[in-house]
Point group: C2
Chain length 456, copies 2
Amino acid sequence: MADRQKHLGLFTDLYELTMAAAYFENQFTAKASFELFVRSLPRERSFLLTAGLEQALEYLENVRFGEEEIEYLRRQPVFGHISDGFFDYLRDFRFTGEVWAVPEGTPVFGEEPLLRVTAPIIQAQVIETFLLSSLTFQTMIASKAARVVEAAERRNVVEFGSRRAHGPGAGLLAARAAYIGGCAGTSNVEAGRRFGIPVFGTMAHSFVMAYAKEEEAFQRFQQLFPEHGVLLIDTYDTLAAIDKIIQKKLHPTAVRLDSGDLLDLATRVRQKLDQAGLNQTRIFASGDLNEFTIADLLARGAPIDAFGVGTALATSKDAPTLGGVYKLVDLESETGIVYRAKFSEEKTTYPGPKQIFRFPDGAGTYRHDIIGRQSEKYSDAVGLLELVMRDGKRIAPSPCIEDIQKRASEELKKIPATCRRLRDATPYPVMFSKELENLLATVRQQTLKVAEAEYS
Amino acid sequence: MADRQKHLGLFTDLYELTMAAAYFENQFTAKASFELFVRSLPRERSFLLTAGLEQALEYLENVRFGEEEIEYLRRQPVFGHISDGFFDYLRDFRFTGEVWAVPEGTPVFGEEPLLRVTAPIIQAQVIETFLLSSLTFQTMIASKAARVVEAAERRNVVEFGSRRAHGPGAGLLAARAAYIGGCAGTSNVEAGRRFGIPVFGTMAHSFVMAYAKEEEAFQRFQQLFPEHGVLLIDTYDTLAAIDKIIQKKLHPTAVRLDSGDLLDLATRVRQKLDQAGLNQTRIFASGDLNEFTIADLLARGAPIDAFGVGTALATSKDAPTLGGVYKLVDLESETGIVYRAKFSEEKTTYPGPKQIFRFPDGAGTYRHDIIGRQSEKYSDAVGLLELVMRDGKRIAPSPCIEDIQKRASEELKKIPATCRRLRDATPYPVMFSKELENLLATVRQQTLKVAEAEYS
């Protein structure tokens, strides 16, 4: 994984480095601020849940360019006119900036900045690609997980998707984000070890198939894992498998269904288990599940106690990307800070450093958010962006992952329930402040004036 | 990235390790064969293009359990009844098996095995998760890339999606797979260095916004990158930007459009460039492109010379998962090799080691495939699965990535064009051999007999 590597400098887009070279050669050393946000939520989402900040900060503390990386760059024809000075600069490259961010486990919405970097412009630019992919991927998965967990109505949901994730690294990060979103744990063992997440597992069809008789596989597994054994019963004939378990007087913690009509099978399996006095044996279901199939199963009364969710969760299958962007909002100049915005037809960005002001209604729920200028004050609102890094160093230790999960659960409950519905959710109200709109208008006018001056 | 790490043993699902412990404690050391395949293609795909084998083999040669990993496992309550012997076994764990695989850059279809592992069952089981996520992710991206490149009709397509990929590791692997699928290169610099892929870049809106005047940004960039500069012209007003470039007598290699009506803008920009004698300046387009928008732009005559494709490509957005599975197909026993299959209602798997036989029609095109038993012979067919690893070591050096890309391009051309259409493609004919169907019937009957005997 990236976070274990020594030199992460090249984990970026080439243009970040050509722009860096251009800034360097032009002695453009001004500090700049960039904000990272998701323009709009995918159709299938009514909120996002932040995750991935930990990996982003780890990267910022460790990003370096090694000799091998620098030599590689030097050999690229595009850098043919770039001086040695730039490569010396890369050799000593450190991130020395300031970072404001929304803590992990916070519900957020479209246009709300998740993070702001203020640093010499080269530094602030080079880190764009890594920050975007770290923050938006985990945020996407945590958001999906929160939906799945909500659908499961407090039953355990285990993240099972590593094999279908976008490579081994994605599986690891998906497990972390899914836990933040409320999952009970993951099947990914390295994620368990590295992030301190509970790990869960059952057995595969191959284990059943490896023995001549299904009940032999069950017996041998149950003997070794008496308190943790989950027996997979759908390899051949689900109901026959349950009969064997009963006949052989096995008392598994749980049995797992992985195919077929889960409502019907769970109902019959529950009946058989109860008739045999195995009331303690729980039913665990998996097999291409998502928030909608889970909600449907439970609405129809399926006696399922826990769910394993793989592909849909680890890839956020119905909304597999977030439109995360990282935009310049201000810049030091000889005359002080100047604000920057982009005004192309489709995509306007707001200038200047911002704060998300979240307004509680006094009854335990949030009423709305205002995206305003950082300098604004609202006595009845909470500002979500916090200073997390100064001079390239974290200013406080990271919260443990249980606390992040707890925060997520508590904060989500404060978002109105209608805004969290799986389908047809009411949009949570987010507005731009008057002051910010005024600043946008001013910057727009200045930009137009410059443009006119050029043509006059 | 995973491939740089020392100990990859825990990059797996917990159940692989509980099953491993159960096999170990029961002295179940028989060799088993597992085959990895994609059950069926997503609705949006008519072929897959294999990729990711290189990372899978690298993993197999290097998978280990370090002390820290073993201690972590030992502390998990689920292993409470497992002997020290098992942890000693993990300490010495090596993959010592045999691997057959379809070479990277080969078109394949649903049900066709991409890889077969034969190894002592614990080894063959533990590696499942990593193999699946390595092979199916890159295969998915290479397949998407092949579609995008086909749509671009030999114009260059550059993979630009790292920032939207599923984390930094996914971005790196996506760049590799996209190159195999026919992309000209990637924006991901580390992918360029590590895999020897050409890297490309332009400039960001922030670079234009960092200067008070747009033309100053253009001039400074053009001066430093005279042969490689691609100027981004949509930050404020695309046509005004082109006028500035002409007025200032800049001669950029290319200009980039990233928003707006690309057909209209490209047409007007081309006109302006040509009128000013800048016939050599190419037009590069990006902005939420995919195979359909590219095909549409070109069909309507957009004078675009190259494309940057990000999100849609690096996440295979319209089909962001492949249903990859890894199934037990045979097993050593006291009486020789026994074949295994799974017969649950929805998901039958075929038993025994297989080969994909691909039949050329003698005129440079492939007619159909037969999935048969490994032992079958067809004088007029090519067998796609090749022996790539024996005793845990590769038997030949890996092909270089250019050769893989070349193979992909050549082999794709041999698939009938109707089977490669972007929409409504004719399914390429794939059948199971008579011998394999017979084997399935035999194994099914044996399994039923065992089941009956148990109940009698």
